[in-house]
Symmetry: C2
Subunit: 413 residues, 2 copies
């Protein structure tokens, strides 16, 4: 099935807004086993006419986002009727949808909004509970076209909700895929990309009916499995058993969401002592709603004095081994655990760069340590890692390593 | 001048990679007074052939990104020669560029890389100091076409550098714009979008030759001025004088980069006490290379006990006024200043949500305070704000407010 996407919106071409619709729809369609063959972005107004005519000729399905608003620049509806050679009529169902939206807001509907109720004759109205613009579905073989057309609103939260409620079920019906066909995304961290791919390719080729994809991000590798549910589960289990220590989740949550959830399940409190990551890990943890139940103290000890004053790191260790050392990492974690009275404390100290490296400790070197209670004693362990690919990636990758350390403490394998 | 962009890359349509090239190029071209009339994204391989043929017919300039690699999927060069009706030849200059790149890395060049030296006869080689793929410039009126064509590599850092060095000067030569025509972006924070736009529209209409644009982001408003240098300077000064307290910069730096730079210029050290922002502000400060010279201590006091233990906030204030209060914010800032011995300390305490709000203190409420030394004494001031648009935007907006507080302390108006 040939699918094209048309995104309308001058802001997408002026660079003031990043086009996220293409990637979002690409991922959703992939979950239905469908691929986008072309994506065209055009400014508001007339350029949609030309783009639509061409896409309808070339494809089986066209999904258009944007241009459904009430202003004169919003011409997606008109362009569609024109391309199909059918009339536009004011649709009563659409009028009611728009009226209902204004009623919920307690606001008066303006006359210009009635334009949004215009629909090509024979098309379905797609309700929009989150905005004023109803969507449009043109089934195949309407007017001059054999192409199925979806017109969706531009604002992301409106478009996403309408896709799930109205578009995905219709696309499923247009394809012959089994009901339980779909996509599973499994996240891992801490493996080299090529060895990961080689190892899994070797094992997963025994599922020829499964489509396998890989996606590498800094500090994370995603395995994408597309197929029927049964074979996806088998393959997912095989992948997890291949890399149990590196396994994060397959439920779509972020690593930090999984960590916060596991801390909650185990009733454990967390403290963080960050030097080179400068608060990034604490910030990721506190991005998760409800994190205040499990995260209490964060120590950002960017300067040596801060390590001494806030965490009780010894001057002797700093002098003998330097701030980026196993000893200092362990003392930081221990100090954070004791000062905060948390159950688990993790520390990180390293050289984010671009300055500050040496032959012995090149830019990108970091030590991370974990401290946990063991009866009345505190047990620490530490490891050394390196990520020499710039400050931004350093913080991301070190953050992943820290969060994985916490996850494996809570869910050992 | 009609300009089209073609982005090739299957990952852009599968949703695994966000297409940032369109927005980036759109913004750069706007700075030359040029607008993109269409952007087409196609998968790797053959689809580029069709897309290129059509864009060359419809436009004066076509910019293609991607598909210049050494594999069989990389067919942008072949497709261009085909569309122009000219031959591909191995270009000696291109071979030397590729060889030089491998020499710098100390690696052996493989035979497949020689494919990257193929060029349409009559086209210019665009050197790529950051990668193996040289770019291509096809001047207008080569072969069957009257269109100027740029072929650029896909990796963003390679593409950006080549655009600045090779593409922008050639585009300038193709247009009739004066030498000092360009764009100025001015950043502000802490103003409502519509009053900002109304106030500046009223003042800037006295520069009819200037093109004015606005872009609103959470906690930041950008004013874009396009025109000749003289009129841009006058308009920029007028805008700055209209909102002097809200002015950030016009040099393209981020707010945190400006804050770190000003701290350095004034020889001041900073400490941060964050509750509801959970380390986000410290992380933004430490994103800036060289921040270790000005930022020493960050206290993430997510729990009440952490505020008491780490910052000496009084139990009495917590009980009498609650954690989200002027008193606690002031005590947090004062404690951070005294414990860290910094020159400036800023604190924030609030309700990020979605839970934890009340009638008196709804979700989104936050207090921020600043503490500075005044002889031997410590002077504090505090203010209350609200950002009720979800956790992510809350952290961003509160972060902007904190950083602006520091900036105005260093650069008062």
């Amino acid at each position: 099935m040939k699918i094209e996407i048309i995104n309308t919106g001058s802001e997408l071409l002026l660079g003031s807004t990043l086009n996220t619709h293409g990637a979002w729809l690409g991922q959703e369609l992939l979950g239905l086993g469908l691929r986008v063959q072309r994506l065209v972005t055009v400014p508001d107004g007339d350029p949609i006419r030309e783009a639509l005519k061409q896409s309808i000729t070339d494809s089986d399905v066209v999904i258009v986002t944007g241009g459904l608003g009430p202003t004169s620049d919003d011409v997606t509806r008109e362009a569609t009727a024109e391309a199909l050679g059918v009339d536009l009529i004011e649709d009563e169902h659409a009028v009611r949808c728009i009226q209902a939206f204004f009623d919920r807001l307690g606001r008066e509907m303006s006359d210009s909004n009635l334009k949004q109720a215009l629909h090509p004759v024979g098309a379905d109205v797609l309700p929009n509970p989150n905005g004023t613009a109803p969507g449009v579905y043109v089934p195949p073989r309407l007017g001059d076209s054999s192409c199925a057309i979806f017109l969706l609103p531009g604002p992301p939260h409106e478009m996403h909700a309408m896709y799930h409620a109205e578009v995905a079920p219709r696309l499923k019906a247009l394809t012959d895929l089994p009901e339980d066909y779909g996509v599973t995304n499994i996240k891992f961290s801490g493996i080299g990309e090529s060895s990961f791919q080689d190892a899994l390719d070797a094992k997963l080729h025994k599922f020829p009916e499964l489509e396998v994809g890989y996606c590498a991000r800094p500090g994370e590798l995603d395995l994408r499995l597309i197929g029927e549910r049964g074979v996806r589960s088998q393959a997912a289990e095989l992948a997890m058993n291949t890399y149990p220590k590196q396994y994060i989740n397959e439920d779509g949550l972020s690593l930090e969401e999984t960590v916060v959830s596991e801390l909650g399940k185990h009733g454990k409190k967390l403290a963080l002592a960050e030097s080179c990551t400068g608060g990034r890990v604490s910030s990721r943890i506190t991005d998760v709603s409800g994190s205040s139940a499990v995260f209490t103290h964060g120590y950002i000890t960017y300067a040596d004095e801060a390590k001494v004053e806030m965490l009780g790191v010894s001057q002797a260790s700093l002098v003998a081994h330097g701030a980026v050392s196993e000893e200092v990492a362990r003392e930081m974690a221990k100090g954070a655990l004791e000062n905060s009275k948390a159950d688990i404390a993790v520390s990180v100290t390293g050289i984010a760069g671009p300055a500050g490296g040496s032959d012995e400790k090149p830019v990108g070197t970091y030590w991370l340590a974990i401290a946990v209670r063991d009866g009345d004693a505190v047990r620490t362990s530490a490891e050394k890692k390196c990520s020499p690919h710039g400050r931004e990636i350093f913080k991301l990758v070190a953050g992943q390593a820290i969060l994985m350390k916490i996850l494996r403490q809570l869910k050992p394998v």
